[in-house]
């Protein structure tokens, strides 16, 4: 199964351009959609999840037109929204059972088995009788995964799933997701580069509604390999360096900024080469996009 996104655009009534001629082709497996907050990730995810109509463009999933054959798409869709609530006075088991019925699983005994398996899988079995109102963020998130897996979906969309999870939870979550990627198109949107690095075989970087990069994370890293230089500088120098070099990121290490600079050759004194990682790729694209326009006109 293949997901083909063509020329997708969406502008909100307030003028925000959320999607700008997005073209993507996504194969079975884990696909990471990386971008800063407000880049258009959620708009794209919601559009893929049949919850929003684009202004133009088309989305094809296997033989299905996602924009018009909504019901068919929804039958093979597993969707975990970025932020969601629950019925506080309903137990996990009951709500999951309820959602299974909505999915179309009407046979009672198979539904029971399914719900049990999913609760075990998401490690919620012990608390299945508890009301969801008392669930912690991580438990709620796992419940979200459980409901997304109800029908062995062919298309799984998880929007910012690890935000707010502690490291252990996040780890468990990654394991679960990676299992799914074996037989479905799994699209994971995130602004955390490590999520993608750990999970995805394919990825795209999006900002201001535009796809900046689309490809394999490892290849992307290879592309910048040897071009990333780092230097620890003083706080007061940061502005000067940003003017002089292509600074793609800076982070504080023990209170002093360490900057990463993208350059084919050694950019200057005090810089040392560093092993490129996905983060550098990400920041280089984001940085390039934000400076591209004045650069082109110059």
């Amino acid at each position: 199964m293949k997901l083909q996104i063509s020329n997708l655009s969406k502008t909100y009534p307030n003028g925000t351009r959320a999607l700008d001629h997005v073209n993507l082709e996504i194969q079975t497996g884990m696909f990471g959609l990386l971008g800063p907050n407000g880049a258009g990730k959620s708009t794209l995810m919601r559009t893929l999840a049949t919850l929003q109509m684009p202004d133009t463009g088309s989305i094809q999933l296997g033989g299905l037109n996602v924009l018009t054959q909504k019901k068919e798409v929804r039958q093979i869709l597993g969707y975990l929204p970025q932020e969601f609530g629950v019925y506080p006075k309903v137990s996990a088991e009951r709500l999951l059972d309820h959602l299974a019925v909505l999915k179309g699983i009407t046979d009672k005994s198979s539904r029971k088995k399914l719900v049990q398996a999913l609760l075990e899988k998401t490690n919620l079995y012990d608390v299945r009788k508890k009301n969801l109102g008392g669930f912690s963020g991580g438990m709620k998130q796992r419940f979200g995964i459980a409901q997304a897996l109800l029908t062995r979906p062919k298309l799984i969309i998880v929007d910012e799933p690890t935000a707010g999870l502690d490291p252990a939870e996040r780890n468990r979550f990654h394991n679960l997701l990676s299992e799914l990627g074996e037989e479905a198109v799994v699209i994971l949107s995130t602004h955390i580069v490590d999520d993608v690095k750990e999970l995805c075989t394919s990825m795209a970087i999006i900002n201001h509604g535009k796809i900046l990069m689309h490809g394999n994370p490892l290849e992307a890293i290879a592309e910048v390999e040897g071009k990333v230089w780092k230097k620890r500088i003083h706080k007061t120098e940061l502005a000067d360096y940003e003017k002089a070099y292509q600074v793609i990121s800076n982070m504080l290490i023990a209170g002093q900024p360490e900057i990463h600079v993208l350059s084919d050759s050694m950019p200057g004194e005090g810089f040392s080469p560093t092993e490129a990682d996905l983060e550098d790729v990400y920041f280089s694209y984001i940085h390039a996009a934000s400076t591209a326009e004045p650069a082109v006109s110059a």
Partner: protein
């Protein structure tokens, strides 16, 4: 600090648009209430002007309640809550502000805003009354205090209390729901106090209990005359002051409680809860274990069974969500509390209750509809917004559901809640019946009303709310719109010409239930209307489904675009079917009401009546022949609600000149077709054939011209056949006179009458003005009008007539008319009765047919006359037959002894359905409503209404039938007042003085309230113009007092002489001017003033006891000193009072504790008062407890309670 918090709150609120929306809303509604003719809010009627101070006060009170309290709760519930909701509480509470400053600052800031918003109402009214298009005749001159006084006396205390309540509730509970529940509790308290108010003894309590001030207003001005209502403002004194103080104090208690209990350190309600419920997991499974769990594949179905299963699952979820929510439980409990409070008295007449029959219980259960409305509005909105409010909408929206499934699930969830509540209502009803010792439960009737009328109302409004929530897509705004719709749609729609039931959203009701006729013919139109609105609601439902928000696009424009995609086959089919159902039933209703039957809007009807007067008034005094004989065959067909009446009148020219034109007026009831009307020559000298000369079809008025004019003394036979046919159903429910079981009508309803009918004219000044008719219209002919003196009570068609009728009806029913049964036989499936009266009688006869059981008794009067007494009653309605039978015997005995012999050999009472609540006296025949005697539950302490009504109607056989009065001003004093008097005398023989007192107290209350509501002018009793509060209520009081002053024997002697002189006369009928000399004749000179006071003028007293004291004398004697203040007033027709000098005899009374613990009179003597303040000294033989003037309230006094006072001891 306080000031800074205050000013922060103030400026925060002033910046909020909601504040200005509320202000504007208040101003607009207040403006419309006075300036827009189509909207009447607490408005003046008749002589009370549209901007009278009482009206202004009413408008302000109503606006303070709705939407006022809603606004107060919205503003005052949140000032503290806001900090929790926005999670700024931690930030604020850690600053060094003092709790008191914080709370008071917030409170005062918000309260100032509330005050400002309510001045909007004041401004709106003040601007409204000055609009140039208002009719200056309907206004009193502008006076600032008329507006300011009620604002200060009612509005400010009300909103102050409500503000305190909601502020305290919101701050202490930290839950808006709690504020909401408080609001409903206040409403419940108000309704309970209203219920209490209906009982005379509880009025003061009711007034105090009511935080809104409505009751205290009612009790204060209940007896105000017209002029007082137009000029007087409510002042902060007496009961008003007490009520206001009570609630303001409770308000302070609320704020004190808040200051005391509120704590910065306590975490917010939500956080607290979460902590308690926090769930922790056991140890996590290893990764391997997790991977080992296989997710089984499940078959996904998508057929109609799947949809059904989904819908049922959803509805179960929603049902659970609603039923387990706290406000729902609170609303329901309060509703039940209210029902139980309301069940304390049933449809009480003079404090006497009816049995708690199932239909009476159903009427009580209707109070719960208010709570149903709250549930529809609130939970209808909640369910539509459920997923979005919980932020689980994206998960639900991405489910592979057809679009209609969610909404259907929500709808069925609501339906399940309704079913639960309806069953709970039935259980409550049955419990109420059981506790009252009534065990005939009639579960079928519960179901037949609750599961049809109530249920369809719930369904239709739920779908309506769903629709609006979807379209408007803003929860709170939609709530507001729906509430406004509930409040005003019924008022405004008819005013703008959308009067037909097809326009009235949710129209169609089952109407009154009667044991005799069940829901009768209301069932068919009811059902059609319900299907019509259901069709409409389903169309709305389909639109709602198409436009429902699914996904994240909420804009209506986008949704409209999407709707095209969503308009799939099943929805298309559903929409078409729903639309067809709506359209077809609508057409069918229209076909019935407007094509099969005639429909006229109220404007058209008024227009017709105006034209009737304009064109035909000229014939008002035209001499017409009189009916002297009536012979009819009336065949009643109860199953199809038809009858055919065929027969003739013999007309006789009793005038001095020839008559050539006969004017025939037919009934305006269009169900009646006049099949034929011909005239026949009676003798060779008399008149011959007649031809139709002029027709006024609009008024069903026809002028026939005789070939040869009737000479004085000539007779003419008028044959006619009238066919009353019920076809389909009519708009507005149709007549309840000809019904399946319990047909009752009289000749004036359907049979031809002669000449112009004054009763057809427009009577309201507003209408007359609009249609260009003279605004001044006398309600009755003057007492001295010689023409009027020749017209008997029931109209100018006849003096007395010979009467004979053959009636037929179903074999299951008995048909009854005045006269004696000559023969009774069955022919096929028809039961025939031939009645004939053996002497002449009024031209006034009843036609009755129903399935009856009969109680019959032969009885000899003390005078030795043998009578048959019969009661025709509905099977099972046997509770009070003995009382009625006794009532007949006692009253006939008394009247024969004191007035004259009874003129008939028989008396019959027959029950008719409770569509009307009266009894009416025809010759030897009294139809008696099911609702006012047959199902009364009369206890030892209750007034025996069955007995009283029977005695009153019996008395009409004398006052009305034996001596018939002229149809002029004052006429009802001669029939109704004298019947009241007669009934009182019969009751007095059987009942204790206390019981008589109780009855008279109700009469006084009704008289005083009646005159406060007078629409034209109050008349003295002797000139009464069909004003029931005068001829019944005041009549009772003054006649009871008269016999007390001049003795019962004297009054009876006067009446006897009057009757002997006037009985049986047909040349001229008596007026009050003819009766009063008989009263004067038996009244001693010293009391002649009574006749003037009671009958010829409007006289009121203001008597009260000042502080009476006593001292102990020797031999256990006590000397009581009773200082009193007495004032006597004459009132004009608008209630303007002038004090007049006293030369009056009044009772002075002293009470002591009786053996039974109650106060009993130990001294009662009449004393003459010649000055306003007098002190009496009397010696009594027991220790006095109370003393005063006119202690038994024989005189008309608007403040009877202060007539006696506690007696103090002189040391």
């Amino acid at each position: 600090m306080l000031f800074r918090i205050f000013s922060f709150e103030l400026s925060y609120r002033l910046k909020r648009p909601a504040t200005w929306v509320y202000f504007g809303l208040m101003m607009l509604i207040a403006f419309a209430a006075v300036a827009w003719e189509n909207l009447t809010v607490g408005g003046g009627t008749g002589q009370v002007k549209d901007n009278a101070p009482v009206v202004i006060a009413q408008i302000l009170l109503i606006l303070t309640a709705v939407p006022g309290f809603l606004i107060v709760s919205a503003i005052m519930g949140v000032p503290i809550l806001r900090d929790y909701e926005h999670q700024t509480s931690d930030m604020i509470f850690t600053t060094p502000i003092r709790k008191r400053d914080y709370l008071l600052g917030r409170f005062l800031g918000s309260f100032t805003i509330v005050l400002m918003i309510f001045t909007g109402a004041l401004l709106g009214i003040m601007i409204g009354v000055n609009m140039p298009w208002l009719d200056a005749d309907r206004l009193v001159p502008f006076e600032f205090n008329h507006y300011f006084a009620p604002f200060w006396v009612f509005v400010i205390p009300n909103i102050f209390f409500a503000s305190m309540l909601f502020f305290a509730g919101g701050a202490l509970s930290r839950s808006l729901l709690f504020v909401f529940v408080q609001g409903i509790a206040m409403l419940v308290l108000y309704i309970i106090s209203l219920q209490l108010f209906s009982n005379l003894d509880n009025r003061t309590l009711a007034a105090m209990l009511d935080p809104t001030g409505f009751n205290v207003v009612n009790i204060t001005s209940q007896y105000w005359g017209i002029t007082e209502q137009n000029t007087q403002v409510y002042s902060m004194t007496g009961l008003i002051l007490q009520n206001r103080l009570l609630w303001i104090m409770l308000g302070f208690v609320g704020i004190g409680l808040t200051l005391w209990r509120f704590s910065f350190s306590k975490p917010g309600g939500k956080a607290r809860k979460r902590k308690k419920k926090q769930i922790t997991l056991g140890k996590a499974m290893s990764q391997g274990d997790i991977s080992a769990i296989a997710i089984p594949a499940s078959r996904i179905t998508d057929g109609w069974q799947t949809q059904l299963s989904r819908i049922l699952h959803l509805s179960r979820l929603y049902f659970r969500e609603i039923v387990l929510s706290i406000p729902f439980i609170a609303i329901t409990l309060m509703g039940v509390v209210l029902l139980i409070a309301n069940a304390s008295n049933f449809n009480s007449i003079y404090g006497t209750d009816t049995y708690p029959t199932t239909y009476q219980i159903l009427e009580v259960l209707e109070t719960f509809n208010l709570f149903f409305i709250i549930i529809i509005v609130f939970y209808g909105g909640e369910l539509i917004w459920k997923e979005r409010d919980l932020r689980i909408n994206q998960i639900f929206d991405a489910m592979p559901l057809p679009d209609f499934v969610m909404m259907s699930g929500k709808f069925l969830g609501m339906v399940a809640v309704y079913l639960l509540l309806l069953v709970a209502l039935i259980v409550t009803g049955v419990l109420i019946q059981t506790f009252k010792g009534y065990y005939q439960y009639e579960i079928g009737i519960y179901f037949s009303k609750l599961f049809t009328e109530t249920f369809s109302f719930l369904i239709v409004y739920t779908l309506f709310v769903f629709f609006l929530q979807v379209i408007i897509n803003q929860k709170l705004l939609t709530h507001a719109i729906v509430i406004l719709f509930f409040l005003f749609a019924d008022i405004i729609l008819p005013q703008i010409g959308l009067e037909h039931s097809l326009w009235q959203f949710g129209s169609g009701g089952l109407g009154t239930y009667s044991d005799m006729n069940s829901f009768g013919h209301a069932v068919a139109p009811f059902s059609w209307h319900k299907f019509y609105w259901l069709g409409f609601a389903l169309v709305l439902f389909a639109i709602g489904v198409l436009l429902s928000v699914r996904g994240t696009d909420g804009l209506l424009k986008t949704r409209l675009k999407l709707a095209k995609l969503r308009f799939v086959r099943p929805i298309a089919i559903f929409s078409i079917l729903a639309f067809m159902m709506f359209g077809f039933t609508g057409c069918y209703i229209y076909y019935n009401t407007n094509i099969l039957n005639e429909y006229a809007s109220s404007d058209e009807i008024k227009e017709t009546r105006a034209n009737y007067e304009k064109q035909l008034k000229q014939y008002q005094d035209l001499p017409q022949p009189k009916i002297v004989e009536t012979k009819l065959i009336v065949d009643i067909f109860p199953k199809s609600r038809d009858f055919v009446a065929e027969g003739y009148y013999i007309l006789k020219n009793k005038s001095d000149g020839p008559i050539s034109d006969i004017h025939i007026q037919l009934t305006s009831e269009r169900d009646l077709k006049q099949e034929s009307l011909t005239f026949e020559q009676m003798d060779s000298l008399g008149a011959g054939k007649a031809m139709l000369f002029e027709s006024f079809e609009d008024f069903r008025y026809y002028i026939y011209k005789l070939d040869h004019p009737m000479q004085p003394g000539d007779s003419l036979k008028m044959n006619f056949k009238a066919n009353y046919k019920t076809i389909g159903f009519v708009e507005g429910g149709g007549s309840t006179q000809v019904v399946y079981n319990g047909t009752f009508f009289n000749n004036t309803s359907y049979f031809p009458t002669l000449g112009y009918d004054r009763g057809g004219e427009l009577s309201e000044e507003k209408d007359r003005k609009k249609h260009g008719l003279p605004v001044e219209r006398e309600r009755m002919r003057s007492r001295n009008d010689p023409l009027g003196q020749k017209i008997p009570l029931v109209g100018d068609d006849a003096d007395k007539i010979r009467f004979e009728v053959v009636m037929s009806t179903d074999t299951s029913q008995i048909a009854i008319a005045p006269g004696y049964l000559q023969r009774e036989w069955t022919e096929g499936d028809r039961h025939y009765y031939h009645y004939k009266m053996d002497k002449t009688m009024f031209n006034f006869y009843s036609i009755v047919s129903a399935r009856y059981e009969v109680v019959k008794e032969t009885w000899s009067t003390p005078q030795g006359q043998e009578l048959t007494l019969e009661i025709y009653h509905h099977p099972g309605h046997t509770y009070n037959l003995d009382r009625m039978m006794e009532g007949m015997k006692h009253s006939i005995s008394y009247y024969e002894q004191h007035f004259s012999p009874y003129q008939f050999r028989q008396m019959r009472i027959m029950e008719f359905p409770r569509y009307s609540s009266f009894a009416q006296s025809f010759a030897n025949t009294v139809p008696f409503s099911e609702g006012i005697g047959f199902i009364l539950s009369i206890g030892a302490d209750d007034i025996d209404m069955a007995y009283y009504v029977t005695a009153h109607e019996m008395a009409h056989q004398w006052w009305g039938h034996q001596v018939t009065e002229a149809n002029v001003q004052g006429n009802a004093m001669l029939s109704e007042t004298m019947s009241q008097y007669s009934a009182l005398m019969v009751m007095k023989q059987k009942n204790s003085p206390e019981m008589m007192q109780k009855f008279l107290r109700h009469e006084l209350d009704r008289y005083l309230r009646g005159r406060a509501g007078e629409t034209k002018k109050e008349q003295p009793l002797a000139l009464v113009e069909r004003q029931s509060y005068i001829h019944y209520r005041k009549g009772s009081i003054v006649m009871y007092a008269l016999q007390d002053y001049i003795s019962e024997d004297s009054v009876n002697a006067a009446l006897r002489r009057y009757l002997q002189t006037w009985a049986g006369r047909e040349d001229r009928y008596p007026t009050t001017a003819d009766l009063l000399p008989y009263f004067r004749e038996v009244t001693p000179d010293s009391l002649q003033y009574l006749i003037t006071d009671m009958f010829e003028t409007i006289t009121l007293f203001e008597n009260r006891a000042l502080e009476p004291t006593y001292e102990v004398l020797a031999n256990s004697q006590y000397r009581v000193t009773i200082p009193v203040k007495a004032e006597k007033f004459r009132a004009d027709s608008l209630g303007n009072q002038t004090e007049i000098p006293l030369q009056d005899w009044m009772d002075v009374g002293v009470f002591a504790k009786g053996n039974d613990g109650k106060d009993s009179l130990i001294y009662l003597q009449k004393h003459k008062l010649t000055q306003s303040e007098t002190t009496f000294e009397v010696v009594v033989g027991a220790e006095p407890v109370k003393a005063g003037i006119d202690p038994l309230h024989k005189l008309i006094d608007r403040n009877p309670k202060d007539n006696v006072a506690k007696v103090g001891v002189v040391q």
